[in-house]
């Protein structure tokens, strides 16, 4: 009895305020869609960081015989075998170093050929122009400074280069975009909340006859407020469901069908990340409007 009565009240209320309900659904859908997207974006950035930091290493380039006049570091000519051995030994003693790979000029030439093989420049490069290097893999990629300060001033070392420097701007850009998304989401969320509060007020006002009678015949305030709160919660849940559709669609179309084909070097987030975000979106979509309605009604429907 009770449930049926409450349900029919909700139906009446939602239909009576169809336009406002629609506005609530759309604004909740957009704000929660952005919310989910920004959560996924953070996931994506950390996935990418993990992937790239795993790949990137710190390179210690040695002077070769052609570098004598290119920089002060190499004024004394090519690095000696002794210098290289000393550095290698020290690297192996450092706890933060995971592994060291020695890349000779010939190997560097080979990699160079692989990357730029078909371009005209490739023909001009000879193995002895390319520097010999140690590729140092660190246990914690952020500890790069330790290597740099230890070896960059050593005789025979041309340069210590952290490959993270090349990918960092990308992450900064992605993070910046993420913050922008969060800002827009916060604004949308405020708009959605104000809309909900307003919708509930209009709804309560348009049914003041019913609620007035309910009060007089002794309906509890819980019973009087329940239809309005559920109304807001249902609109919010519908909006959240839309948000989920947007998120899933965005992931399927934008990432799986498009970006994954275009950019193969990036490791994109999987469906498991999406599956983690969706319940959160639904929960917020349900609770936020219900709470907003509750507080909007407290002022409006006093006993």
């Amino acid at each position: 009895m009770r449930a049926q009565f409450v349900l029919s009240e909700i139906g009446v209320g939602l239909r009576r305020n169809l336009t406002m309900t629609f506005a609530v659904i759309v604004s909740v859908a957009l704000s929660l869609g952005l919310f989910g997207a920004s959560l996924l974006m953070r996931d994506q950035v950390s996935t990418m960081k993990g992937y790239w930091y795993d790949k990137v290493n710190v390179s210690i380039f040695f002077c070769n015989k052609n570098d004598a006049d290119t920089g002060a570091n190499c004024a004394k000519g090519a690095a000696t075998q002794q210098q290289k051995n000393d550095i290698l030994a020290e690297l192996h003693n450092l706890k933060i170093v995971q592994s060291v790979q020695h890349e000779t000029s010939d190997q560097a030439y080979k990699h160079y050929k692989e990357q730029f093989g078909d371009t005209p420049v490739a023909g001009l490069v000879t193995p002895d122009q390319l520097p010999e290097s140690f590729r140092v893999k660190l246990k914690d990629p952020t500890k790069y400074e330790v290597i740099k300060s230890a070896f960059s001033e050593r005789p025979g070392v041309q340069e210590v280069q952290d490959q993270r420097d090349t990918v960092e701007p990308l992450f900064n850009l992605l993070n910046g975009m993420n913050w922008a998304a969060i800002g827009v989401m916060a604004l949308m969320l405020i708009v959605a909340l104000l809309l909900i509060v307003n919708t509930v007020r209009v709804s309560a006002f348009s049914r003041r006859r019913e609620t007035g009678i309910m009060r007089l015949v002794g309906a509890s305030s819980f019973y009087i407020q329940m239809p309005f709160i559920l109304e807001a919660a249902i609109a919010g849940l519908l909006g959240a469901a839309f948000a989920c559709v947007l998120i899933v669609g965005g992931k399927a179309i934008l990432i799986n069908n498009w970006l994954a084909d275009k950019i193969q070097v990036i490791n994109f987030i999987g469906w498991d990340s999406v599956a983690q975000v969706l319940p959160l979106v639904l929960l917020i979509g349900l609770l936020m409007p219900a709470l907003a309605a509750f507080f909007a009604l407290r002022k409006y429907l006093k006993v």
Binding site: R2, V217, G218, A219, S220, I224, V303
Partner: protein
């Protein structure tokens, strides 16, 4: 049943109190007319009975409860034992007569079987037997007020409060409504009725209380309207 001890009520942001130092007692089963010009405090008196307002000073006892000490969440329970009827009927225009009466039972969570049984009974009692499926708009004013009375009485309340129930009705229809209220009173329900209807008060010869500028200036058993416009 009802007891007022030195009750005053001043609304916020107003200097003049709506009720001043009113003390009275109404016994179970009484029929009381509340008379007085507009603004004399009749409505405030009724609002205090329903605890829509709280007294500024003094104590209001209704159905043996001190309303000042009644917590908010217990107010609905109290109101279930009080029926209310208004000048403007306050029916829901989009519900049938039967649904209007059933509404009062639905919102306090009465079981469906009981509602189905009680609603026709009470409609029969107020003289609207068989009009269950009519819409309020199809009924005359007197019939609409009977629906409102049916709704107020369907819970068999101890107390029935009527705020100018005949205010919108012609004299003949009013007599019918008064007969109905009298019958309800004879079942043991206390009736408090605010009115401007001199003819009715003079005919019924019940207890009359007169308010003037918030003061109780007359309390007379088997009284007359007595007050000139």
């Amino acid at each position: 049943m009802i007891r007022f001890d030195n009750v005053s009520k001043t609304y916020p942001k107003q200097n003049r109190p709506a009720l001043r130092d009113v003390s009275l007692e109404i016994e179970r089963g009484e029929f009381v007319f509340l008379v007085g010009s507009s603004g004399s405090g009749k409505s405030t008196f009724l609002r205090l009975l329903l605890r829509e307002e709280r007294a500024s000073h003094g104590a209001v006892h209704v159905l043996g409860k001190d309303l000042a000490k009644l917590s908010n969440w217990k107010v609905p329970q109290m109101r279930r034992q009080v029926g209310t009827v208004f000048q403007d009927f306050r029916l829901l225009p989009n519900k049938t007569v039967g649904q209007n009466v059933a509404f009062a039972l639905e919102v306090i969570g009465k079981p469906r079987g009981q509602i189905r049984k009680t609603v026709p009974e009470v409609l029969e009692l107020v003289g609207l037997g068989g009009k269950e499926d009519r819409m309020p708009g199809e009924l005359s004013g007197g019939e609409q007020q009977r629906v409102a009375i049916a709704r107020a009485f369907v819970n068999r309340p101890m107390l029935l409060i009527a705020d100018e129930p005949t205010g919108n009705l012609d004299p003949q229809t009013s007599v019918g409504i008064m007969k109905l209220l009298d019958r309800i009173n004879r079942t043991g329900t206390t009736v408090v009725m605010a009115t401007h209807d001199q003819q009715i008060v003079d005919q019924m010869r019940k207890r009359v209380m007169e308010l003037e500028k918030g003061r109780l200036v007359r309390d007379q058993s088997r009284g007359v309207y007595g007050y000139q416009h």
